[in-house]
Amino acid sequence: MHDFPLSKRRIILNINSEDVDIYIRAADLLLDTIRESLGLTGSKPGCLNGDCGACTIILDEKPMKSCLMLTLEAEGKKIMTIEGLKNTPIQKAFIEHFAFQCGYCTPGFIMNCHSLIKNQPNADPHTIKEWLQSNICRCTGYQEIETAVLSVLRKDYNK
């Protein structure tokens, strides 16, 4: 028999290269665990439907919407949140190119853009557009965000 109810578990999560030992409900969403149990509030709640991308994290190199994922699904995988990125080229580019206004969407955009740069260093314009469509910015700073991504992908890009 099980030591504890199947709807609750004790698991190890690897988050920003650190193992953390936590109790969760099977029904817990990764976004809630990251923000509320682990206190990493960089990943933002927005629509909670998968539409806005504010909650985007990187899971085993791929961008994922943490509002559409159970915490249990991240067990055994590497989770990276905005708190785990330190002085990356895309963070610098966002500052240099003023790619944010209120900043609410920024962590999600940065996680998606960082993953794009890592996975598709030679991304063509179609791929860049396709990836960036996963996030919404209510302050409509899309042009600056695209410029920031291009400045990292194309070293000679200077707009």
């Binding site: 109810p5 199947l6 709807s7 609750k8 909670l48 998968g50 559409l68 249990l72 990836w131 469509q133």
Partner: protein, 280 residues
Amino acid sequence: MIPTDFEYYLPATISEAVHLYRTLKNHGKKPLYYSGGTEIITFLRLHLIETGAVININAIPECRQNNLIGDSLTLGSSLTLTEIEEANVFPLLSAASAGVADHTSRNKITLGGNICGMIFYREAVLPFLLCDSYCMIAGGDGVRKAPINSLFNKSLQLTEGELLVQIITQKRYLDLPFICIKRRQQWETGYPLVTVAALRNGNEIRVAISGLCPFPFRSAKMEADLNNTKLSLEERIELAFRHLPAPILHDVEGSAEYRLFVLKNTLLEIIPKLEAGAIA
């Protein structure tokens, strides 16, 4: 947050999954197969469904298969849409699935979840309807193989507890000329006003449609009219429209009249291109 608790299972075999379903159902748990989980999570959060247990099918090797062996392509139901697009063995399917949601969401949305889900667009089914694919379905009596065109009638007709394991498509269909066009009300992501996937098999044009009605469909009667090359294209489309299923969606995305207008124009664009030759 999902307010209600449920149990979580991760079976490693098909028979374990099917057996778990039956046992949990007998215990009144209202189990659900969990593939990408995006729809289950959203609907649980909104109290649109309830469950006492989810059965995650991602550890079942058959559900993860992505193999082109001999003359058939086998795609497991828990492959994500981006996994399918990246492998790009079936370009028409890549094109249809690339229109679903957005790139990050497609890292989670799965083939089986899109086709078995309640959100009725189910755009990933269109290529399989056009290619006369087969479904491998697991149930209490083992695994059975069924043609998708008899199994899919508005939705996949599974009996309770059955699991879609794989979809098999003959290799000869994979490289046929095709066009897939998704028209939205606005923007470049979002649900369709109308999505039309079309394929040319010899001289025959096949068409499957999502977004027009509250279910995707392919109609043999419509195809017969669309392929009647003795008539003008406008006449062929007009005749084909007599066989459209009902109801035509009439909602905030677009009125029924507008959807029909968009469908007509999309067919006017697609059919001459497919008749003219290969398009990929």
